[in-house]
């Protein structure tokens, strides 16, 4: 055979080596769904990873299993669309103050505590010129949104001194 064939064998060997290496290195579940190599070429197991990601926010129905009177109060007032976790989930784990370890008894993963700072209420109720003055309630329709100027409205006092944050009304004198 002519020596001119030698480079051809080298190329063929390289191709075989590449294909073998590819079979070994590329995970077996790598594939393109619907033949879409442009956007859907991936390890199929990754989809399951994201589906199995733990759910953390469980909503007011979960909290209401124990806190029945508070949930009732909440549902009858202006804060009925505000989830418990909006105010009670602590981003600072040290502020966790729930008396029962929720993680142990029900696998609940958020840190629950109480934040009494004015900053929390101001997130919605501080008056800004471009903050919508009304909001749409699924039952009542268009409702006026209560906003205050935090510098003039009893500065340095905790909102919860006068306001019942669960019923979104005032605290009764009896209490």
């Amino acid at each position: 055979m002519s020596h001119a064939w030698r480079p051809v064998f080298v190329v063929l060997a390289a191709i075989v080596f590449f294909l073998v290496a590819r079979v070994i290195l590329v995970p077996s579940d790598f594939s393109a769904k619907n033949g879409d190599y442009k956007y859907q070429w991936h390890r199929l197991s990754s989809e399951q990873y994201w589906k199995d990601f733990p759910v953390k926010h469980k909503g007011m129905e979960f909290c209401g299993m124990c806190h029945v009177p508070i949930l009732e109060k909440l549902k009858g007032g202006g804060h009925q669309n505000v989830q418990c976790e909006n105010c009670h989930a602590m981003f600072n784990p040290e502020k966790k103050s729930h008396p029962i370890d929720l993680k142990e008894i029900s696998g609940y993963l958020l840190n629950i505590g109480t934040d009494r700072s004015r900053e929390l209420c101001k997130r919605c109720h501080a008056e800004l010129p471009y903050r919508p003055s009304t909001y749409t309630d699924p039952k009542k329709g268009t409702v006026k949104f209560k906003m205050i100027d935090p510098d003039k409205h009893n500065p340095s006092m905790e909102c919860a001194m006068c306001h019942d944050v669960h019923s979104a009304g005032f605290k009764t004198a009896a209490k």
Partner: protein, 258 residues
């Protein structure tokens, strides 16, 4: 055979018409087109999102809930969803900011940290942003290892075990929706809370919004709120000029929004 000039023209015209009609009738009918004759709209399962900026008050509860739900470290300057504030002053100047992704909400009229008088403001609005879960995601195209992909129902995800952290996708997203996750050391992005929507739950940001400014649902499901809004109201998308076909639709955008 003798042909008159008149007959030649007549027969010629018939021949031309005869060849043209079958060609148009032979247009390939795709399965989707055939299905559309039976169903008035596509049955393809596809997640989409609607943001009503007229309802957003900028409380940032969505940004907080998202960070806690998806284990994005709270005190780092990266976020899967954030709220931008657009303020136009009476002299025409536009100020845009999003301090800490608005995870602590907007409590003062202080765009970019400088307090301004209420009387100086001509108009302003809050614009919640998140990954647009594009039909043609430019972030997926540039991934050199196949670590990011679009699922069959239209959500773009990152394979954390396969991502090499090169950052091409982060720089290629026209919406700046991607970031480098400081703990996993991979690219990260909004997943539409894939672990929640696939279980029939709402996304964490939708659940935490007390004002109903956010909605997530199947775009072709006549029962979903997203379908109802998209088929009856005026919506727009961000940066359509990029051709990504984004699937986060906005109500009440303004020309100052980018």
């Amino acid at each position: 055979m003798n042909l008159s000039r008149r007959e030649l023209l007549k027969m010629g015209l018939v021949a031309v018409c005869g060849t043209v009609i079958p060609l148009s009738a032979l247009e390939i009918l795709t399965p989707e087109a055939a299905a559309s004759l039976i169903h008035p709209f596509s049955k393809k399962k596809r997640w989409a999102f609607v943001v009503d900026t007229t309802k957003c008050v900028g409380c940032g509860m969505c940004a907080k809930a998202c960070k806690l739900e998806n284990e994005v470290p709270f005190d780092t300057e990266v976020q899967r969803t954030w709220i931008e504030r657009y303020v136009q002053l009476k002299d025409g100047k536009v100020i845009i900011d999003s301090p800490q992704g608005a995870r602590y909400g907007y409590t003062k009229n202080d765009p970019q940290g400088k307090e301004i008088k209420d009387s100086e403001v001509a108009k302003g609005l809050f614009v919640p942003k998140l990954c647009n879960q594009c039909e043609k995601p430019s972030c997926v195209q540039v991934c050199p290892v196949g670590a990011t992909y679009k699922t069959e129902d239209g959500v773009v995800l990152v394979d954390r075990g396969w991502c090499i952290g090169c950052g091409y996708c982060i720089t290629n997203c026209p919406y700046f929706a991607r970031f480098f996750h400081p703990i996993t050391n991979t690219a990260d992005k909004c997943t539409f809370c894939y672990h929640r929507i696939t279980k029939g739950l709402n996304t964490a940001c939708v659940d935490s919004c007390a004002f109903g400014a956010r909605k997530c649902g199947l775009i072709n499901d006549p029962e979903s709120e997203v379908f109802k809004i998209l088929s009856t109201e005026r919506v727009s998308v961000l940066k359509p000029e990029y051709g990504n076909e984004p699937h986060v639709f906005y109500i009440g955008l303004d020309h100052i929004v980018r």
